[in-house]
Amino acid sequence: MSGNEQPLSVFIVDDEPPARNRLRDVLNDCSEKLPLKIVGEASNGSEALDMLMELPVDVVLLDIRMPQMDGIELSQHLLKLPKPPVIIFTTAYDEYAIKAFELHAVDYLLKPIRLARLFEALTRARNAVPVKNEVLQELSREPRKNLSSHERGKIHLIPIGQVLYLRAELKYITVRTVEREYLIEESLAALEKEFAARFVRIHRNCLVAKEAIEGFVRGGEDSAESAGWMVKLKGLGELLAISRRQQHIVKEFG
């Protein structure tokens, strides 16, 4: 392999400065035996994502418990990079995550970080494959705070609170915010399950944010499919059709 002569590029993500210090110290100790380079660090998920889009790296050392966007969510977004890095999770104490890591052979480091363990994990990282998205989904106990859309080599984070509706269209799902639309490649059923508290299904192919519902109007054709009711959303001119099967939501949210 040609990459073997290149030093391993490593990126650190942790919200706590002393924890990043510790990783830097131990990585420096590792570099005596294993050629590596610390190429950057970030203290939160979105900062890390921004930096990693510009700067592809081999390995990301990623803390699980961080405010706002946790490590599991960040790793899901990182998977959409053209060349996703190998992720090694770090955690002080998280029985749930550790059980899942063991089950799916995902590499992780326990804090306090130890030289020998870090060295071992980095050595393996060269040949490791990125963790599968399904595994990460299983690992996340909470719905993501953002959706991510991949556009011309860039990843856009869409805060879930800004999403008005999600509509399935052929291969993609359209994510609509007040400003614009994004396309994502996920399944509507999975999204419905993940964000059950936030969205309600109004049609076979459409989930609407409960908070965004302004009201209901009559309109559209009255057919076997459609009941003739439409949802009006806050800040959006567009009306969305409610299917006959989902007609009960007019009563629930009206």
Binding site: R20, Y93, P112
Partner: protein
């Protein structure tokens, strides 16, 4: 260790209730009057008869009850020195003598209802009184027994739950992170940790000086600030706190730990924890308030263990004299505790030495 614990457990169950405790007094009043009601029901010939029966019983019961409580309140220091069974005997005798005395002193007030059988009545009231006090003493003994098991459970739980493993491992990691560049700060951090864990491993039933608990809580905050930096701030508001006040150990620190773990850590910008400590009359008031993520935005759940632990200890130590209030707002969380201002380790029902 095990031996020491079992000795303490014996002490705990074989003690009379503290008759100077409001909670105990209330329970005695409630149960005695409840039994009077039952007696009235069983004697009455019809619904219309019940109030009159109650009146009869209460007229006799109330003076006996009140004078007994008063006498026991006064005799508490002396009763404390007796061993359990002598104490039981003394209490029962007190009740019997008071019943007899009040019955005869009451004269016409009590006799007319029951005709000539004055002495029979006297004997039967003495027997009833002794039975009721026996039942009450048995109830208090069982209650202490039940609660003292809870203390030991809480104590065992303490080592696992009071100081979170999350905190332990993160702090060790942070100390390792600064040890090469700031060895002095690392030293202080390890010293603070030692103090914190020493306290966590001490006897959970002990009271400690308030200023010591404040000191320890500040050490804890310093450790968390080492990790979280500017994001964690604590606003201490303390007004004329008495120097000599005693509080249960590790009462304040777990409240702060909860505030950090559930409140500040998940907030990207961090926040300020407000700690308000003050004395109001013969009460100490503690208030810990923290901002938190709005509900439904990934706020952690499950801070029940630490809080129920505190509640249980307060219950055991002060019964109804301590109050406990939790308020959960949309984006804040507040715990308020009021406990009696004590300066000497009280003779509590679970300790006799």
């Amino acid at each position: 260790m095990i031996k020491e614990r079992s000795i303490k457990q014996n002490d705990a169950t074989d003690a009379l209730p503290n008759f100077r405790n409001i909670g105990i007094t209330l329970r005695i009043l409630l149960i005695s009057n409840g039994m009077a009601l039952l007696l009235a029901l069983s004697q009455a010939s019809g619904w219309a008869d019940v109030p009159q029966r109650i009146m009869q019983i209460i007229m006799l019961l109330t003076p006996i009850l009140l004078s007994t409580l008063l006498l026991l309140w006064a005799a508490q220091p002396w009763l404390d020195q007796l061993d359990y069974w002598r104490g039981v005997f003394a209490v029962t005798m007190t009740v019997a003598m008071l019943t007899l005395g009040i019955y005869y002193l009451g004269g016409e007030l009590y006799h007319p209802f029951f005709g000539d059988n004055v002495h029979f009545d006297a004997a039967r009231y003495v027997i009833l009184s002794m039975m009721v006090s026996g039942i009450l003493l048995m109830y208090f003994r069982l209650r202490t027994l039940a609660l003292s098991h809870a203390v030991h459970d809480a104590r065992l739980q303490m080592l696992r739950a009071r100081i979170r493993p999350h905190f332990l491992f993160n702090t060790i990691n942070a100390v390792l992170g600064i040890v090469r560049t700031q060895p002095r700060q690392a030293e202080t951090a390890l010293e603070d940790m030692a103090d914190l864990f020493r306290m966590a491993m001490a006897d959970a039933r002990d009271l400690v000086p308030l200023h010591k608990e404040i000191q320890l809580s500040k050490q804890y905050v310093a450790l968390e600030q080492m990790r979280m930096g500017e994001r964690l701030q604590v606003d201490w508001q303390m007004q004329d706190l008495p120097e000599d006040a005693l509080i249960p150990q590790l009462l304040l620190q777990p409240l702060l730990e909860n505030a950090v773990y559930h409140g500040i850590e998940p907030l990207p910008q961090g926040g300020i924890i407000r700690v308000i400590l003050r004395r109001s009359g013969d009460e100490l008031q503690l208030k810990v308030e923290n901002p938190c993520l709005p509900r439904g935005e990934g706020r952690h759940r499950g801070n029940k263990v630490a809080l129920s632990n505190i509640r249980e200890r307060l219950d055991l130590l002060f019964d109804v004299e301590a109050r406990y209030l939790v308020e959960t707002g949309r984006d804040f969380y507040r715990v308020e505790i009021a406990l009696p201002y004590v300066t000497v380790r009280p003779k509590l029902k679970e300790r006799s030495s």
